[in-house]
């Protein structure tokens, strides 16, 4: 059974029909990369999956929990980690506290245990020496890696990445992508909204192009890059030209 089942999801922002009947199945361990022009609904779709955004029609089931039921929201959110474009680290807390707070509050872990997990994760993302720094003291790339570690500390089954490298300087993009690549190889389920085609080629099991609130094309990376779909070809030519 797919770990994420989205069926005919519609979302309206007052007048704007942001998602127009999107259906998406994601299997456990799959890495799905979503691309598309801005305003195409890719971020909205991602945010609907952990219900940061409420959808108006359709159904989303995450790991057997239907998001229609309000009581499931916090259960789902504990299973789904999210990484944001603007990092959103807690500005008043040190890196260590950023990583341990939710573990203690939500997972009810003891302080020692939470700190041990945090230190391991900081080592994994390559910044064990920054545990006592405040977010402002870190570079963008470091902040984003902390944000990834913070999400991983909750042992999520699914990770959502909402344009994780769009706010980064070019030379910091790689350090974040490397962490994401390592995660993908570990077999965690990932949905990534990103225009990093190098990452998509290396890690994606499936690629999706969204436009105007709909899924235009959904394919394996090899076939996707050789797509004959006019819209896909046009968009890819723009994105690849960028590099």
């Amino acid at each position: 059974m797919p770990i994420i089942q989205a069926q005919n999801v519609h979302k309206y922002f007052s007048e704007v029909h942001a998602l127009q009947g999107v259906s998406l199945m994601v299997e456990k361990g799959e890495v799905v990369v979503i691309i598309g022009p801005s305003g195409s609904g890719k971020s909205t779709l991602l945010r609907c999956i952990n219900r940061l955004e409420e959808y108006d029609e359709g159904q989303i089931i995450v790991d057997g929990n239907s998001l229609d039921d309000v009581r499931n929201i916090n259960i789902v959110r504990q299973e789904v980690g999210m990484v944001f474009q603007s990092f959103n680290l807690f500005a008043h807390l040190t890196v260590m506290d950023n990583l341990t707070l939710a573990q203690k509050v939500v997972r009810r872990r003891k302080k020692d245990e939470a700190q041990k997990i945090a230190i391991n994760l900081l080592e994994k993302v390559g910044i064990p020496d920054k545990a006592l720094a405040y977010p402002i003291q870190l570079s963008g790339g470091q902040q984003q890696r902390v944000a990834i570690a913070r999400a991983l500390a909750m042992n999520p089954k699914i990770m959502l990445f909402d344009e994780p490298t769009s706010a980064l300087d070019p030379e910091m993009i790689k350090e974040v992508l490397d962490v994401m690549l390592a995660l993908a190889n570990e077999g965690i389920t990932m949905i990534v909204v990103s225009h990093e085609m190098g990452f998509a080629r290396a890690a994606a099991n499936r690629m999706i192009l969204m436009d105007a609130g709909q899924i235009v094309e959904e394919n394996k990376p090899d076939d996707f890059f050789k797509s004959t779909n006019k819209r896909t070809k046009l968009f890819l030519s723009k994105v690849l030209h960028m590099l």
Partner: protein
């Protein structure tokens, strides 16, 4: 974002001498508190008659003023938080009463509110008591200090609600989203993420309110509370020396507000963080 350059110790000074850093850490405005305090001491010692007599007479009033201000301010902080969160609630049954409270209380002069709580409120309670036939309510009498604290807390709570609301709204939306995405509930997120950050943002206006509250507490003298102002008036009624009495009372208020203002500045500095 990125790291900012920190100035060298004494870098902007013409000369650097040992101990300067320690001295620099002391806020020079404490000097003003000291000057006013010294002025009071000089007046009281050099001109014992009448200043020492006045000070002895109003000292109980100082205690009452401090008690009323501190107690009501604690309630103001709580009411403000509830009111501020209420005004931001998505539930109209919470949001509307909170907004109604703020709008109504903001629109009535504090003096009128205090008079209403002291003279009208007890009668309302008594009449409800008669209607329900409950003796405890029929015999209800207004306690001056309780009424003063109630009136001040409710009035200032409305202003404080607006300050809390602005402070909470000033925290980027992403903080709440990140917190919720980790599985924290709305209240956990408020408690651990939003309010600690908002509180640092609102500290200056909160300090302002504390000082304003201390000064406005002088209004409670009209509802039979023997605070600093009322004790001053009582002393004057007997000895009739307005210059001395009101100068000393003014200086006493001034030293308290200046002290409070330093206290706020100190807390602000201690809880400062960059983002």
């Amino acid at each position: 974002m990125g790291e900012r350059l920190k100035p060298e110790p004494g870098g902007s000074k013409l000369a650097y001498f040992p101990g300067a850093r320690w001295i620099k850490r002391i806020d020079p405005w404490w000097g003003l508190v000291l000057i006013v305090a010294c002025l009071i001491i000089i007046l009281v010692t050099a001109q014992a008659d009448p200043f020492s007599n006045i000070l002895k007479f109003v000292s109980s009033g100082i205690a009452v003023t401090v008690l009323v201000t501190v107690t009501s301010f604690l309630f103001v902080l709580i009411i403000g938080m509830i009111g501020g969160l209420g005004r931001l609630s998505r539930n109209p049954f919470i949001r509307l009463p909170a907004s109604l409270y703020v709008e109504i209380v903001r629109g009535i002069p504090l003096l009128v509110q205090l008079i209403w709580w002291y003279f009208a409120f007890p009668v309302v309670i008594q009449q409800i008591g008669e209607w329900l036939n409950i003796n405890a309510l029929i015999n209800y009498r207004a306690d001056p200090i309780f009424t003063a604290i109630l009136g001040l807390a409710i009035c200032y709570g409305a202003y404080m609600s607006e300050i809390y609301r602005a402070g909470i709204q000033s925290i980027p939306k992403g903080q709440m989203e990140a917190s919720r995405s980790l599985g924290m509930t709305y209240f956990q997120s408020m408690r651990h993420i939003i309010l600690p950050q908002a509180f640092r943002v609102i500290l200056p206006p909160v300090g302002n309110e504390a000082i304003a509250l201390l000064k406005d507490s002088s209004l409670v003298s009209v509802v039979a509370v023997a605070d600093l102002t009322r004790r001053g008036r009582e002393f004057m009624a007997v000895n009739f020396n307005p210059i001395e009495v009101w100068t000393l009372v003014a200086l006493l208020y001034l030293v308290m507000t200046l002290f409070l203002s330093r206290l706020v500045a100190w807390i602000e500095k201690k809880s400062h963080f960059e983002r």
